[in-house]
Symmetry: C2
Subunit: 183 residues, 2 copies
């Protein structure tokens, strides 16, 4: 950030009065421009004993498999965002959703939130950001071709919880050092 989005003046990094950390502050109109972490919302769509995955058509991790997810938009709820992304990437409708996994990724200032949901019907197709969309049994999950650790961990939690039939909300912090330890 070099310029003020309100007045076009130059901004500099300084600590505003009544604050304790550096912010981008406009040298001309004194507007303080805050930066905030972003929320990524998605779904774990389930159909019987199958789960739905999308093969990414875009970078990063093109060709790898993921759960439908993306940045939450202004004016929507986390669930509305998760449903929207599921439609955009997998052309699938979900129902009976419950918040399932939450991941803090502080090194990139993102918070992931996945809803576990039932596929409303076994109908899906690749949206513009997907090369392929398919249903997988646990044994068929392409573990070595998953796009992101949050996808791997959400799937592992799910298959583990499914044995007991209890699906609590899981909350976890992932840092780059943890990624290499992901099986």
């Amino acid at each position: 950030m070099k310029y003020c989005s309100s007045c076009g003046g130059e901004v500099s990094l300084r600590v505003p009065a009544d604050d304790d950390r550096e912010r981008h502050v406009c040298d001309r109109c004194n507007t303080v421009h805050y930066r905030n972490p972003r929320i990524v919302v998605g779904c774990l769509p389930v159909h019987g004993d199958l789960v739905l995955l999308c093969r990414r058509a875009i970078q990063p991790r093109r060709d790898y498999w993921t759960l439908p997810a993306g940045f939450m938009e202004i004016g929507e709820t986390t669930l509305e965002g998760a449903r929207r992304e599921t439609w955009e990437e997998a052309r699938a409708r979900v129902e009976d959703e419950s918040l399932y996994t939450i991941f803090d990724l502080p090194h990139i200032s993102q918070v992931y939130m996945f809803y576990r949901a039932r596929l409303a019907a076994p109908e899906f197709a690749a949206g513009p950001e997907s090369l392929d969309v398919a249903l997988f049994t646990e044994d068929a999950i392409p573990w070595r071709e998953l796009a992101f650790p949050v996808v791997d961990l959400t799937l592992r939690r799910f298959f583990e919880d499914r044995r007991s039939g209890v699906f609590p909300t899981h909350c976890q912090t992932l840092r780059p050092a943890d990624w290499s330890r992901t099986p």
Copy 2:
């Protein structure tokens, strides 16, 4: 947003290629400026059968009682943010935290996340944004003087769950129409 924070050029609202909604796009350098919902993190600090509340020293809702909470910062986890806010507003340290309530407030594009936590010691004091900090039994909660519906609902959930001793993560959407129905 009137000016591009990258180059200082004028921005206009238009739908970028490969997108489906209007964004602020720079007319000069074509940078797309996304706006995203913000996360508010906080704690429900518990000490024995008491809970800790802060009386707000700032607007909005000055003089009303709240749980310590505030905007999540870049580079921190939701829990680190909740701990930081608890220190800043109540000069209290917490431990044994677990994610407890999540509220979607789509009309203001905010997501609230409260951690239920144990006060590490019965030590607290008003930080710069608080007029007072105090511990309350359930019977003494100033229900009519609570600052926000998310505070009211988190406390109600807590006292309700405490009867069974089970504290699942609760997820709820609050819209302005719901506020007037809050008891």
